[in-house]
């Protein structure tokens, strides 16, 4: 399947099914409404095959280039049918599970994720381990018939809706740092797991604290080697900055386009508009090249930190401009559309925080790309 054929077919299918695929709620919707809608979109896209292209056949895919996945997310997001923040999770978690997990595990669970039957969450950050991820302390000890996990995770997006968690745990000594970390694939309904949703700055319960109290996890649910989890985690990070970022670019284009259409005359300075459009173009040109490198089979790595810094700058510039041009709605509006703009504005503030802060990305660029030597 080549991109042009896929694009033509998908665009036509989306046009024909737009009513079914459009969110039934106006604006942001409740978390449950958003999850239900995304499940439906995923199911329809999977049943028709569109969401299976670009994924290996072993995990329920139809094969083909990863470019097809980049285009599907773009097509859905640019039509306002999905929120990429929700939609792109499989792009982040599934590739690493396919690469590192027992093939039987990947074959069993990845299709459930792609078809919208279940959600996965990413158990990385902890109260004491944010940027310094290798210091994490949520511990797994070896029991007779499996791991026992005790500890806490935080900022875990969609944890309360997730059936599985890709969880980083400490299996070595605390001093072993990155050498003593293991990745586990955990069922979220296992006794001993408690989820406490956290309200974000715009009030939605999008992420959560997750507590593990002596939670049993079978040894077969180890992803990669015991104590080899750091390599798996490091493999996930570039995936956080490739296809999923292209999807975000699509929604930013849509937001910028709507702003240009709706901002009252004279409310925006031409220079600010031009510069913002250029930040967006710079990000999209860079991310587009990354999509093609990924599709050609190249392993992507630290250079995607540049993509992330460009995205965060572009996203914040676009939504700063929205705040300026549509201040009436953002500041005073109580309707669903105003609430959506506000949520988008607030979410843009997180762009330089989630998935490795802008400062961490710059550290990576300095160390790995500019070869400036150690920083301490």
């Amino acid at each position: 399947m080549d991109l042009d054929t896929y694009r033509t077919g998908l665009d036509q299918w989306l046009d024909e099914h737009v009513a079914e695929l459009t969110p039934p709620y106006a604006g942001v919707g409740t978390m449950q409404e958003r999850v239900d809608h995304l499940s439906k979109v995923r199911r329809l896209c999977f049943e028709t095959g569109w969401a299976r292209w670009g994924w290996p056949e072993e995990v329920g895919g139809l094969g083909g280039s990863t470019i097809l996945r980049a285009y599907l997310g773009e097509a859905l997001a640019s039509r306002g049918l999905v929120d990429p923040n929700f939609y792109s999770t499989p792009e982040v978690l599934a590739p690493a599970v396919i690469r590192a997990a027992d093939p039987r595990l990947a074959a069993e669970f990845v299709p459930l994720l792609l078809s919208g039957e279940e959600y996965w969450c990413q158990g990385f950050s902890e109260p004491g381990s944010g940027s310094d991820l290798a210091s994490l302390s949520c511990r797994a000890t070896r029991g007779e018939d499996g791991w026992r996990v005790t500890g806490q995770k935080v900022w875990t997006s969609f944890a309360q809706f997730a059936q599985r968690c890709v969880l980083l745990v400490r299996t070595g000594t605390q001093e072993s740092a990155h050498r003593g970390i293991t990745v586990l694939f955990v069922d979220m309904d296992t006794p001993g797991i408690t989820i406490r949703p956290l309200a974000t700055i715009d009030g939605s319960e999008e992420f959560a604290e997750v507590f593990f109290d002596d939670v049993p996890v079978p040894f077969e649910r180890t992803v990669g080697k015991p104590d080899g989890g750091w390599a798996v985690a490091m493999d996930i990070l570039p995936d956080e900055r490739s296809t999923s970022l292209w999807h975000r670019g699509a929604i930013l284009n849509r937001q910028m386009d709507e702003l240009l259409a709706k901002a009252p005359a004279e409310s925006l300075s031409p220079t600010a508009v031009g510069e913002t459009a250029q930040l967006l173009l710079g990000f999209r040109a860079r991310s587009r090249a990354t999509q093609y490198r990924l599709a050609s089979g190249e392993r992507i790595g630290a250079e995607t930190s540049i993509d992330k810094v460009l995205l965060a700058s572009a996203e914040q510039a676009v939504l700063d401009l929205v705040l300026e041009g549509l201040s009436q709605q953002l500041v005073l509006g109580d309707d669903a559309i105003s609430a959506q703009w506000r949520a988008d504005f607030f979410f843009s503030r997180a762009a330089s925080i989630y998935g490795g802060s802008a400062e961490i990305q710059r550290n990576v660029i300095a160390r790995r790309l500019l070869d400036l030597g150690p920083d301490r």
Partner: protein, 320 residues
């Protein structure tokens, strides 16, 4: 299209030519290597191969005029084309009845009697090109910010010579290619500045350690690389699909990246970057000069923003 391996060989001979020759001799060497032929066959590839190296070497050349010449079908060799006046992109000539008024720039000295192509707008709105002997024009060797850039200011008022009409589209395409060329040259200069600053940061010791260990400096250099890579990605997109919109944006983005490199690298270089003894100043001055040719970052950005506001829509660009 050149094969990857041929392209690498081509780039290598371009680098050698730039290392060995300066000014007119460099232009002659580029002609001998076949760069102008390559430009006529595949302008985008030729531009992307030469201009980054020109920037990194801080070399001066009339190659930019050749880029416009090739789109204006004015020459198959190192043609000389009068560029728009500083900061602008309107044709450098204005036709009024029988009179042709010229105000523009050249990227290097002119021989006596050398023929220059001048594109002029007429009162009827259409553009036309004329071949004019340099003996009919006035030239001023520009010192200004960067004498090593070898700019010439061209002015003149002469009886209108024979004109051949130029489609509006053709002029826009010529400017678009020229903008890609300058963008690449600025990116080359920015990479050179980054390398100078990186080298300094690794070798300069304060508080008992290389200053490259300090996060404040590391982040400045990281920010510079981000700006350069973003600009280069847009330039590459412009090479793959040379629309006036993409090329104008690419030049503005490259110009901004150049200024970002100037700001951060000079701060990292500190005192030595404020001297004429260190190489940095050449790149900084060249970046500022290049930014102001065929539309500065500030003017292009304002212009693009105004266009977007007037159409009320973000044009589709960069599809997968």
């Amino acid at each position: 299209m050149m094969e990857e391996s041929d392209l690498e060989l081509f780039a290598q001979s371009l680098r050698q030519a730039i290392d060995r020759h300066k000014g007119e001799n460099l232009d002659a060497a580029l002609a001998e290597i076949g760069w102008f032929d390559a430009l006529a066959t595949d302008a985008q590839t030729a531009i992307a191969a030469l201009f980054p190296i020109l920037g990194t070497a801080n070399a001066s050349s009339t190659a930019l005029e050749g880029v416009l010449a090739v789109r204006l079908n004015a020459s198959s060799g190192p043609g000389r084309v009068v560029l728009p006046a500083l900061d602008g992109w309107e044709p450098p000539g204005v036709r009024d009845g029988d009179l042709l008024t010229v105000r523009g720039l050249l990227m290097g000295p002119v021989d006596d009697g050398e023929v220059l192509v001048i594109v002029a707008n007429g009162a009827d709105g259409g553009a036309a090109a004329a071949a004019v002997s340099s003996s009919l024009l006035n030239f001023r060797t520009v010192g200004g910010m960067d004498p090593a850039a070898r700019l010439m200011e061209v002015t003149g008022e002469l009886p209108c010579p024979e004109l051949s009409s130029v489609e509006q589209d053709t002029w826009e395409q010529a400017i678009a290619l020229g903008r890609l060329a300058i963008g690449y040259q600025i990116v080359g200069a920015a990479r050179a500045m980054l390398e100078l600053a990186r080298d300094h940061a690794l070798n300069r010791v304060q508080f008992g350690q290389p200053i490259a260990r300090f996060q404040a400096l590391r982040h400045r250099l990281a920010e510079t690389l981000v700006a350069i890579e973003g600009a280069e990605a847009v330039l590459e997109a412009g090479v793959a699909n040379t629309t006036p919109f993409l090329a104008a944006n690419a030049k503005a983005i490259a110009g901004r990246a150049g200024r970002t490199a100037c700001r951060h690298c000079q701060q990292v270089l500190a005192g030595i970057g404020y001297t004429s003894e260190h190489e940095f100043h050449r790149y900084m001055k060249r970046t500022i000069v290049l930014d102001s040719i065929l539309g500065s970052t500030a003017r292009l950005t304002h212009d693009i923003g105004a266009q977007l506001l007037s159409v009320g829509h973000l044009p589709e660009s960069l599809p997968l």
